[in-house]
């Protein structure tokens, strides 16, 4: 007990420190890691499987994989990326949302062609969202809007946007976690972001 108490008095422990303790079977380290990553894991799981209940099972399964496979973590990726890789593998075998026949990319433009004239220029000026938006950019108001919009993205777009823009993974790590090419990742990200922008537009554009 004494060691854990002492450590807790200091600065926040790094992942590497917590993993070291977890290897030694330290329950407090496990709880600390769960506290740190459970939210992210649930979010990413939810981007792959159809229901929250399945997501919770998959995340639980992931933690079991972590506890049992801790010695296989070599520290070549960040802990977060390693966790996501275990998670995505388990989520996919648990039953992904997507139909196996779902096209990887629906194709077509990311901005409604009706916004452009025959020469490909914007018909109406694009109103900047800047400056006085801070009140409107309130995370509490926009959080639910963005969550709903994310949920409605096509599966692969949602997965890429969740890893990249919500969880902050690099494109390299996101590709590794999802097992997709850099080019595909970029296309999915491009469409997903464009869609989210469209959802925000009426809320953040000039009144």
């Amino acid at each position: 007990m004494g060691r854990a108490v002492l450590l807790r008095c200091g600065a926040v422990e790094t992942d590497v420190e917590l993993l070291g303790r977890l290897r030694g079977g330290d329950e407090e380290a496990f709880v600390a890691l769960v506290t740190r990553y459970q939210g992210s894991l649930l979010r990413v799981a939810r981007s792959i499987v159809p229901t929250s209940a399945v997501a919770e099972e998959v995340v639980q399964d992931t933690w079991m994989g972590v506890v049992r496979g801790i010695d296989s973590f070599e520290g070549r990726s960040s802990l977060k990326t390693w966790l996501f890789r275990i998670l995505v593998n388990r989520a996919r075998s648990a039953g992904a949302r997507e139909r196996p026949t779902a096209p990887l990319d629906p194709g077509g433009p990311s901005v409604d062609p009706a916004r452009f004239d025959g020469g490909g220029a914007w018909k109406e000026p694009v109103a900047p969202w800047t400056d006085d938006t801070d009140a409107r950019l309130d995370a509490a108001t926009l959080g639910p809007v963005l969550r709903a919009a994310l949920d409605e993205l096509p599966d692969r777009q949602r997965q890429v946007v969740t890893l990249r823009d919500v969880e902050g993974l690099s494109s390299e790590d996101a590709c590794a976690v999802l097992g997709i090419s850099a080019g595909n990742q970029r296309i999915l990200l491009h469409r997903g972001r464009a869609r989210l922008r469209t959802v925000l537009e009426p809320r953040l554009g000039r009144p």
């Binding site: 329950e27 992210s40 020469g119 220029a121 000026p125 900047p128 995370a139 823009d165 970029r186 953040l204």
Partner: protein, 103 residues
């Protein structure tokens, strides 16, 4: 010359390059063309800025808090995975690692 470059790329094409631009995935020539278009086009500049704001806002979506019950459940499971009896000394580092913890 810049005018010619700008005319090269119309808005409808420019918006499809935004992500590749932000990812640093455009070739030098493509990037110059894209930036030349932006310089002459307040609409596409605004569009790019809106995408940046979108990214920043998505990054602020918070995960739901872990409720204490879920944490307790996981802690119970951890003890089972470890294969030991619950509630004992959890600092026994020498009890076999991950090898033989069948439930």
């Amino acid at each position: 010359m810049p005018r010619l470059l700008r005319r090269d790329l119309v808005c409808q094409q420019a918006v499809e390059l935004v992500t590749a631009y932000l990812e640093g995935a455009l070739s030098r020539r493509q990037r110059r063309r894209f930036e030349a278009h932006l310089r002459g086009c307040p609409n596409c500049s605004a569009y790019l800025e809106q995408i940046r704001v979108t990214i920043a806002l998505v990054g602020r979506v918070e995960p739901e808090d872990l409720d204490p019950e879920a944490r307790r459940d996981l802690t119970d499971l951890y003890r089972r995975w470890r294969g030991g009896s619950a509630g004992g000394d959890t600092h026994g580092a020498g009890d076999g690692g991950n090898g033989g913890n069948e439930p």
